[in-house]
Each structure stands twice: as C-alpha cells, then as structure tokens.
C-alpha cells in the first residue's frame, strides 16, 4: 500500500515544471523561426550545442569575463544563424516545406561534425556562473540552476509575446509568415525579415544552450535528444504559438518528471511521446496552434 506522499509529489512536480521552463526557452527559438518563415528547424538541438560550445570557448578557453563571454557567444551564434539562413534556407524559398525541413536534418549532421572537428568529441563542463543557493518552497528543494533557467525562459517568452503583438517588426514577422506575396506588396522587406528571424532564433537558442549546458555539460551529441523533446513540445503547443511553447514546455517537463519518478527512468521519453500522440489525435494542430486552411 503506497500512501500518497504529497510532499514528494509537490517537490517532483515543482522541479518538473521548472525544467519544463528550459524546454520552453528552446521551444521559443523554434517557434520564432516557424512563425516567420514556416521552416521547421529540426537542428534546434544543435544550435543549442553551438551556443554552449561558443560560450565555453569564450569563457573557459579564452578566459573572457562572464559579462563579455555570454553576449559574445549569443552574438556569435546569431551570426551562425544568419550564415545558415543565407546559404541554406534562402535558396529554398518557394520550394515545398519538406525541402527546408530535410535541409535542417542535413544541417544537424553538419553542425555535429563541425563541432567535433573544431573542438573535440569529448564531454565538457561549462564554467559555473549561476547562484548556488538552493531554492526552498516550504519543504521542497528546487535546484537553483533549473530555477533561474526557468525564470530566464519566462522573461524571454513574455518579451516575445509583447514583441509579436505590438512591435512593428513582430507584426512584419507574422505578416511574412501568413502571406509572403502580400507582405512584399505592403512594402515589408521579406528577405530581411527572414534573416532577422533566424538570427533571433539562433541567439535565443544560444541562451538556452548556455543554460542547459551549464546544467548537464556539453558535447557534440549531448543536445540531440534534448532537441527531440523540444520538437515534441512545439508540436504539442502548436508550431506557431509562443504561448503554446511555454504551456507545452511546462506540461512536458511535468509529465517527464512524474513518469521518471513514479514509473522509472526508461518511461521518460515514452510517456512524452504517448502524450504527443494523444494530443495530436484530439487537437491536430497542437494546443494553441492556428488551424491550417488548405486551399485547392
């Protein structure tokens, strides 16, 4: 007979939700690109890895102070995003969406290989920079890194929501996504919007990568599985919904934590995918995604 240990449940749920915040940040990067260019970036995990490696180079190998290393890594990753957009995504404008999707699959291979060539295939730890005082909610412990990571995610998501709603650039992004031709006609510089979206997404991915990397270390393949979980999060939340990224991120984080605690570590991914399938059967476009209208 298992008496329900509410304290345990609360503690596990709290941690789960907080680590869901990490997913939400990476999901935001993904949604930004999809919202603007309708490209599904399957290489999102590798962008996180690039950001983490760049941070390691600047902070550990070149010994820059943290307040320089972090922005430098974020900007460098943004540059990477711009280069990738120009060389691989721009030529595919007008092609079916499938092509860009497959290109990002190829891209993930390229990034992993490059990471192994430039750095090395070993596992590395990132320099510590987050506060180390554990957060206490009543009797429940919460790891500080996870907590501050989740807080960062919430801040960025709130900012993104506001940007998309009120800033001209945000509106331009949404306009480009819904109808490129009309956007051109309205005087929106569509190629510039594309670049902006990819650069922004890469920078967000870098921030996420640095946080995730400082929790679990970084290696050329460490963020691949994380990327798959992020994919599940965006599908559940809706490919083009910022709010969905947050809600789904927290939800998936919670489910993973509960599955791992009460069922066992091997059920973590399976539980996530079962949730995915269920949600897709009930709401095929995700919880908050916009329903696609197909025209013949």
């Amino acid at each position: 007979m298992m008496a329900m240990d509410w304290g345990y449940l609360f503690e596990v749920s709290l941690t789960g939700i907080a680590s869901g915040g990490l997913y939400a940040l990476a999901a935001l990067a993904f949604v930004l690109v999809f919202k603007a260019t309708r490209v599904v970036n399957l290489a999102i995990g590798e962008f996180l890895m690039a950001g983490a490696f760049l941070f390691m180079t600047f902070a550990a190998m070149w010994s820059m102070p943290l307040w320089v290393a972090i922005p430098a890594a974020v900007l460098a990753c943004g540059l990477l995003g711009a280069v990738i957009e120009r060389s691989m995504i721009r030529p595919l404008i007008g092609e079916p969406e499938f092509s860009a999707f497959m290109v990002t699959i190829g891209l993930s291979s390229i990034l992993v290989g490059l990471a192994e060539l430039i750095w090395d295939p070993e596992q590395h730890r990132l320099p510590d920079f987050m506060p180390t005082q554990p957060i206490m909610v009543g009797e429940a412990f919460l790891s500080p890194k996870v907590f501050w990571g989740a807080m960062t995610a919430v801040v960025f998501i709130a900012a993104a929501l506001l940007l998309f709603r009120f800033w001209r650039g945000g509106v331009a992004l949404r306009a480009t996504a819904s109808d490129q031709g009309a956007a051109y006609a309205m005087g929106i510089n569509v190629p510039r919007v594309f670049s902006l979206a990819w650069v922004g997404s890469a920078m967000l991915a870098a921030v996420s990568g640095i946080i995730v990397g400082s929790i679990g270390g970084v290696s050329s393949t460490s963020m691949g599985v994380f990327g798959i979980s992020v994919l599940v999060v965006v599908i559940v939340g809706g490919l083009d919904s910022v709010l969905g990224a947050l809600v789904a991120g927290l939800l998936i984080g919670l489910i993973e934590a509960l599955a791992s605690t009460y069922l066992g570590g091997e059920y973590k991914l399976v539980a996530t995918f079962l949730v995915l399938v269920v949600i897709l059967l009930v709401r095929p476009y995700g919880l908050f995604g916009t329903r696609e209208i197909e025209r013949l």
């Binding site: 345990y8 192994e116 995730v212 460490s222 570590g265």
Partner: protein, 396 residues
Amino acid sequence: MTKQTFSTRRRQLMLGAAAAAGTTALMRPFSVLAQSADEIVIGGSIPITGVFAFAGVGINDAFQDYVKMINDGGGIAGRKVRYVPEDTAYKVDVSVAAYKKITGANTVNLYYGDSTAFSKTINPELERNGNILMCGASFASELNDPEKYPHQFLVGPDYTEQFGILLKHIAEEKPGARVAFVYSDSEFGRDPIKKSEAAAKELGLSVPVTIMTPPGSVDVSTEVIKLRRAKPDYTIFHGYILAPIPEFITQGKQQGMTSKWMGTFWTMDSSTVMKMGPDGDGFMGVMPYRYYYDTESAPTLDKIRELRPEYQSTAYLQGWLAAMLLLESAKRCLEADKALTGDNLKAALNSLKDFDTGGLIGVPISIPGNSIPVGRVYKADMGAQKMVPASDWIQL
C-alpha cells in the same frame, strides 16, 4: 558534314564490354596488402571518434607504442607484429564492417573490439574464423562466460566484479550501509545491476533505490530528488563517462545529502574526474590499474612515462595491457610450437599464472576464465589534482 556514326548495335556492344571490364576491374580488392607470412597481425575496431573518442585515442596510441616497442626488441619469437586499426565512431555496424575488411585483407590472429555490442555481434564470425583471440574495451559481465565466448576475454574485472570490489570495500568500511545505484539506460549501464543488487544483499548491505537515467538526459533534478529521499550512505554510478555525475553530486550536496560518491572504470580517468570541480573531492571508484602518475615502483609505468612524457589516460593503460596480454598469448603459443589458432591462443592466455604486468596492475595476475577480477579503490584529491589509492588491491 558527315560523321561516321557507329551503328546502334556496335555502340551497345562497345558500351557493354566497357561496363563489364570496368566492373570486373573494380571487383578486384582495392588493397591486397602484401603480408609477409611471418607477421603477427593485430586487428582493431577502435572508437577513435564518436562518443568514446577519448578512450579510442588512448587505446590506439597504446597499441602503436607497444607494438613498436616489441618490434624494436626483435618481435615475438622472431616474427614482426603489425597493428591494423580502423575507426568505428563506436557504431556497431561500422565496427563489423571494419572487422570484415581487416580480416579479409590480412591473416589476423589477435583482435581488439570497441564495444559490448560489437563483441557480442562478432562472436559467431569469430567462432567461424577459429583463429582469432579477441579482447576489447568492454567489461560486460555477459562476455565473462568462457562457454559462450570461448575466444574472448576482458582486460580487467567485469562490471559486476567491479561493483563487487566496491561493495566489498563498503562492507568493510561501514557494515550494513545503504548503497544506491545510479545507472544509464543502455546495455553498458544495465549490465551489472541485477547481479550487484544480489551481491550487495549477500554482503549485508541494503540497496534502497536503483535509478536509471535515459541516455542523453540533460536535466536530472527529478532523479536527484528520488536519490535524496532514499538517504543512501554510498551512491555508485555506472554506465557514464562524465555527465550527469557532477550534476548529481552538486545538487545532492546542495540538498544536504551526505552520501559518498563512487564510480566504475570508464568514469575513473583522472582528467575526467578532475572535471567534476571542487564538488568532486573525495569521489571514489574502482580501478584495475595504476594511474599514469603513480609513484609506487612499476617498471611498466616508467617505460610508458619515458615514451610519453604527458599524462596518458586510463584508456591508454587499458590498451597497453590488452596489447601485452594478446602478444603474451601469441608468444607462449609460438614458443610451445603451437599453431596460432583461437583455442591455442586462449589456452595460452589461461595459462597465465601470477603473471607480472610490470606493475601496471599492483599484484601478479592469473586469468583462469575470461576476466581479471582484481582492482583497487582510488579516491579523488582535488587539492593535489590526483587520484590516490584508498584501499589495497582487492581480488575476488
């Protein structure tokens, strides 16, 4: 302008002949290496790149150095040794392909495999070949079965034996202690868990919880909570190289855990442990060999330090010992005038009694079965940035 064009028929025949000739030419094996009949060939599927790269590079270097040293000294029973490696990136199918390529182009008598999965996959092929003795980077308990794997051996204690050494040490230090197991969801990780739980009970220890982490998992906060609630006195990690152990230790300590932390072979490389940072001070684990910088008297270590002045990993030492044991078996075979068949080579290996590895392993070893159940517990001293012995050499 008139052009002399070939009739369609003629053209077809020409193209057909060209195609046939070209294809047959391509079928000739690309590199038929001229192998002198008197060479001893060691083939290797080595994970020089990929997730196990740090180990693969060390193993590769060790084999190169050892073979060169032997050849410089005149070879084995007058025969030169040749080492033929292929990179596998720790992937089983690449490994198998490398095996087929190397054994197709050379007569191979000794082989080194990169993983548990490969060693198991290639076993039927090995048996069919019949002339190869094989060891590898794996310490899986499953391979420690002379009936199922008659021509393979482990270069040290198998994972269950490694757990056994740690548990024995724990039982002496603190009888009746609570020991938690944290392992990765892979074949590597799962291998010793069940048997070790039983072994712990026999030693009077209790195992309050076993936690399995999914491969590639980054955030282990939930698992740490589970671990903390089990209140273990010791926590043994297995199936990892580095991540997520430091995160477990850091979060565990933040949440007030007083457990001692331990690991198995592939975590115990000095540079890996040092990466754990100040929280890793006191991290213990089982090591079957001495470390590169051990100052106790060891002629093998001196020789290695001569060849390579910079720090060499535990993988290098494992490779060195593997080469030593493989070539020693070949030597005993040849000296007894026996043909280099799998059975003879394995018998020669098993004939090793109280064999002195030159101090690489602290005590003389015997290999009656498929493994070498000897090891010592080492502890991390972050201040000195070294691993120091924490127990005597334990033999199971």
